[in-house]
Symmetry: C2
Subunit: 124 residues, 2 copies
DNA sequence: GGCATGTGCTAACTTTTTTTGGCATGTGCA
DNA sequence: TGCACATGCCAAAAAAAGTTAGCACATGCC
């Protein structure tokens, strides 16, 4: 109803996921990467040249984008035997309004919980 | 069409603005602040108690939220003469999809431009 | 006055994120 | 073999963000 999802079937993201996706998108380089890939898929070196940044830097950003589920990597071997890693954007649709934020906040990991915490709520 | 706006009449945000808003929302504390204020407006100390964080910390976050245009402050004098600073959320509606990101990216400040740059585009 | 409430500020510290540079691997081809 | 192009990784530096602690001010009230 409010936010939609990167991977799999459309469903709402939880608070922690939302924070992660927003943090990932909140960067000029990564925004450019998403924009570039949304126009056409590209392989790493190609993308690095297109954006004018180093491969090392680009890889870090691509890794974050992938971790957030915003892009997907696909390794393909070109005709001349080179192994190229192609990236493409995943479909996603996130709606941000005070209401959706309020809803997401309810599923945030409670403060004080250090790293490695899980929601001990339902069954299991 | 894609993203909407915090202040004034609805209009789309530019790339830099989008990055700023996303970066602002990409934080658990600030997400909680927006959620809390979207339920009911509160004054600083009250909000700090509600969230269980220090006023100093809260103020930093409130400042960022205000700078991003997500919340608004309003100083009011209570019956007993205390000056309280009430905060409330501003209306905003941002849509995030590969397309809206692509559109926003086009208006990003070109890379390499250090701090203190302006878009030499429209009038003014 | 002393205590509770509200506000503000800043300096310093800790943590996270971003960026750079170097080095290693593999391929095809002249 | 040596060059061009593809991939990967890692350590260290640099920059940005988050957090804490302490102090300042004002008010009303016992």
């Amino acid at each position: 109803m409010t936010t939609s999802v990167p991977g799999g079937e459309p469903r709402d993201l939880g608070g922690d996921e939302l924070v992660r996706v927003l943090a990932t998108l909140a960067n000029p380089h990564r925004l450019r990467v998403v924009a570039a890939l949304s126009r056409e898929r590209m392989y790493v070196s190609e993308l690095a040249r297109a954006l004018g940044i180093s491969r090392a830097l680009l890889q870090v950003h691509l890794r974050k984008l992938e971790a957030a589920g915003l892009v997907t990597a696909r390794v393909e071997v070109s005709e001349d035997g080179k192994a190229m890693k192609f990236y493409e954007v995943n479909r996603f649709a996130i709606q941000l309004t005070p209401e959706t934020v309020e809803a997401a906040e309810r599923t945030l990991t409670p403060p004080g919980d250090g790293p490695g915490e899980q929601k001990t709520k339902g069954s299991m």
